[in-house]
């Protein structure tokens, strides 16, 4: 009896660890392959795919940077940072209004803002191109900034609203008794208390904006305004034979976000715990 159940437990543990380890390999091996390919020569890339590069020089990375990755990074960084800041400001302001201020038709406005969650950007694509052409926003930084900001608002409000609903009413009341206006309550009390969800949404918005592809592809033409994802895809079609350069570019595109995630991970998870599934 005892040995049998021990054997069962042992088997179960073995199964669990096999699954977990197999998935770790399935995730990490392709990534390791990507990084190592960034160091290979073209001949090596088309040889045995399991082989490691003969030498670990930075030549491909420097060349990829020269061939445009540097300027893609600059565009992506500025677009990501500005769009995220704008989205956070507008969304936090709106989430506060929806949860802690008496607004007529509150439920209707909530639905109106959150309904944007399920809208595919493709649905608005054709009219947006037309509108941007007539407004002179086509192929401009400002145009992309507006799109990135607008389409992230519903999701950000969704998470922030769920979080702010959980904050106790008593803090607002205490502030009101002390004579604080709603604006002061927002800045001094609710915003600092919402730090976990702000960090979470910042991470999610930065990830999404950094990786955005559809708008960056449709609303820009030619060089100058290309973001990393679009630039990489172009690099790929232009450098038909220089694949190691593309791999080097991929590594440079991926690394900042992986680092950001590990850096903010603890806060990120805590914010999700407070906000999602509410």
């Amino acid at each position: 009896m005892v040995t049998l159940s021990n054997a069962g437990r042992w088997l179960r543990a073995a199964l669990v660890w096999t699954i977990l380890a197999a998935l770790v390999i399935a995730v990490l091996y392709p990534l390791a392959w990507m990084i190592s390919n960034g160091f290979k020569t073209n001949a090596e890339l088309f040889g045995n795919p399991f082989a490691l590069p003969a030498s670990w020089g930075w030549g491909n990375f420097a060349a990829a940077w020269q061939q445009g990755v540097g300027s893609f990074v600059l565009t992506s960084v500025s677009l990501t940072v500005l769009a995220t800041v704008l989205t956070e400001a507008i969304s936090a302001w709106a989430a506060f209004g929806l949860t802690r201020v008496r607004i007529p038709l509150n439920r209707g406005f909530t639905v109106l803002i959150l309904a944007g969650l399920m809208l595919a950007p493709t649905v608005a694509l054709v009219p947006l191109v037309k509108m941007f052409q007539s407004l002179g926003l086509y192929n401009t930084f400002l145009g992309l900034l507006a799109l990135y900001t607008a389409f992230r608002i519903p999701f950000t409000v969704f998470l922030m609203r769920a979080y702010m609903l959980d904050l106790p009413r008593e803090v607002d009341e205490a502030a009101a008794i002390d004579g604080a206006s709603k604006t002061v309550t927002f800045w001094r009390i609710i915003l600092p208390m919402s730090r976990p969800i702000i960090i979470t949404t910042v991470v999610l918005n930065v990830l999404t904006n950094w990786n955005e592809y559809l708008f960056a592809m449709v609303f820009t033409s030619g060089t100058g305004l290309q973001t990393l994802p679009v630039g990489l895809a172009d690099l790929m079609s232009k450098n038909g034979t220089q694949y190691p350069l593309v791999f080097a570019g991929m590594v440079m595109a991926a690394l900042p976000m992986v680092i950001l995630f590990f850096f903010c991970q603890r806060y990120f998870v805590r914010g999700l715990a407070g906000g999602v599934g509410k």
Partner: protein
């Protein structure tokens, strides 16, 4: 007086406080307060809702944005849509995408999250969650390009791997075959996105009180039944949310298909998003593209309504 029933006291105190020190709860809603919503509403109105309405109007036109030629054609675009084999193929591909994503990123991820959470060491749990999340951080474009190379028939990792396992006869050009292209793309999406779902389910599982599992263990209930009787019912809200996010995401797929196959070969991996792009920006048939947009909108709307109806029945609020 001092011996008021304990159950009454909080209620009395509550209402007294409500009358005296909760001005906000008793204050009438004021239109002045809409100032809080104006920035969000304005941005959404201009860049999301107005284009959405225009899209409906455009779907009744035959027109070219670039040349400006434009004429009203009534429901012609929709008639064409209904008999367009590529549109139907795209619809089928999106449906496959949704089905595969539900299996992997909702149920698979929930199961995996439960397995991760069953690990005793907190450090190990955190390590697994983070490693699984990495692909979600590296972007669909990078992951798509990476798998484009992994799927290469000669120099790719997958065929070489199969050959090493003695399964060389299954090696093929995964993205180059009509039968496999959409599934190869969908497989990459699962690799890229499952860690995000695992993370969210882990968070939901952590909220379940440990006492429930302890009580079950004392009653001799094993981990498998614990999963079905405790974990699954108690993360139902999260499962519902993930379901709608995953399915509507599957009907919005664009980036990975564009990067890996552009819808080919022979339109075999076309999805609604890429077919819309193709109709509009490759063949300049913008009215038709708008009609596809309306179809996408109606599908996502129906899915959201279905989800809302299901969660209403369960009386779950968000």
């Amino acid at each position: 007086m001092t011996s008021a029933p304990a159950s009454v006291r909080p209620a009395v105190a509550g209402s007294a406080r409500a009358a005296l020190v909760r001005p906000d709860r008793t204050a009438a809603p004021s239109w002045r307060n809409i100032i809080w919503l104006i920035p969000a509403l304005a941005v959404l109105a201009v860049f999301v809702y107005w284009p959405l309405l225009q899209n409906v109007a455009f779907s009744f036109l035959k027109w070219n944005i670039y040349s400006g030629s434009q004429s009203f054609v009534g429901a012609d675009n929709y008639v064409e849509l209904a008999s367009d084999p590529v549109f139907l193929k795209a619809l089928a591909n999106n449906t496959w995408y949704a089905a595969i994503s539900i299996v992997c990123q909702v149920f698979g991820a929930l199961l995996l999250a439960a397995i991760v959470e069953s690990v005793r060491s907190e450090r190990m749990r955190r390590a697994f969650r983070s490693i699984y999340f990495i692909p979600s951080a590296i972007s669909l474009t990078v992951a798509g390009l990476l798998f484009y190379f992994i799927y290469q028939p000669q120099s790719g990792l997958l065929n070489a791997f199969l050959a090493n396992l003695g399964l060389g006869q299954y090696a093929q050009a995964w993205l180059g075959h009509e039968n496999t292209s959409i599934f190869a793309v969908a497989a990459m999406s699962q690799w890229q996105g499952f860690g995000y779902s695992v993370l969210l389910f882990s968070v939901a599982l952590q909220r379940i009180p440990v006492e429930l599992y302890e009580a079950a263990a004392i009653d001799g209930i094993g981990p498998v039944r614990q999963f079905f009787s405790i974990s699954m019912p108690l993360v139902r809200e999260m499962t519902g949310l993930m379901m709608i996010v995953t399915v509507s995401g599957a009907f919005q797929v664009f980036n990975e298909v564009m990067v890996m196959t552009s819808g080919g070969p022979n339109n075999s991996s076309q999805v609604l998003g890429t077919w819309l792009y193709h109709a509009g920006f490759v063949t300049n048939n913008f009215g038709y593209a708008s009609a596809i947009g309306v179809a996408v909108f109606l599908i996502t709307l129906a899915l959201a309504a279905l989800q809302l109806w299901v969660s209403r029945k369960r009386r779950v609020e968000w």
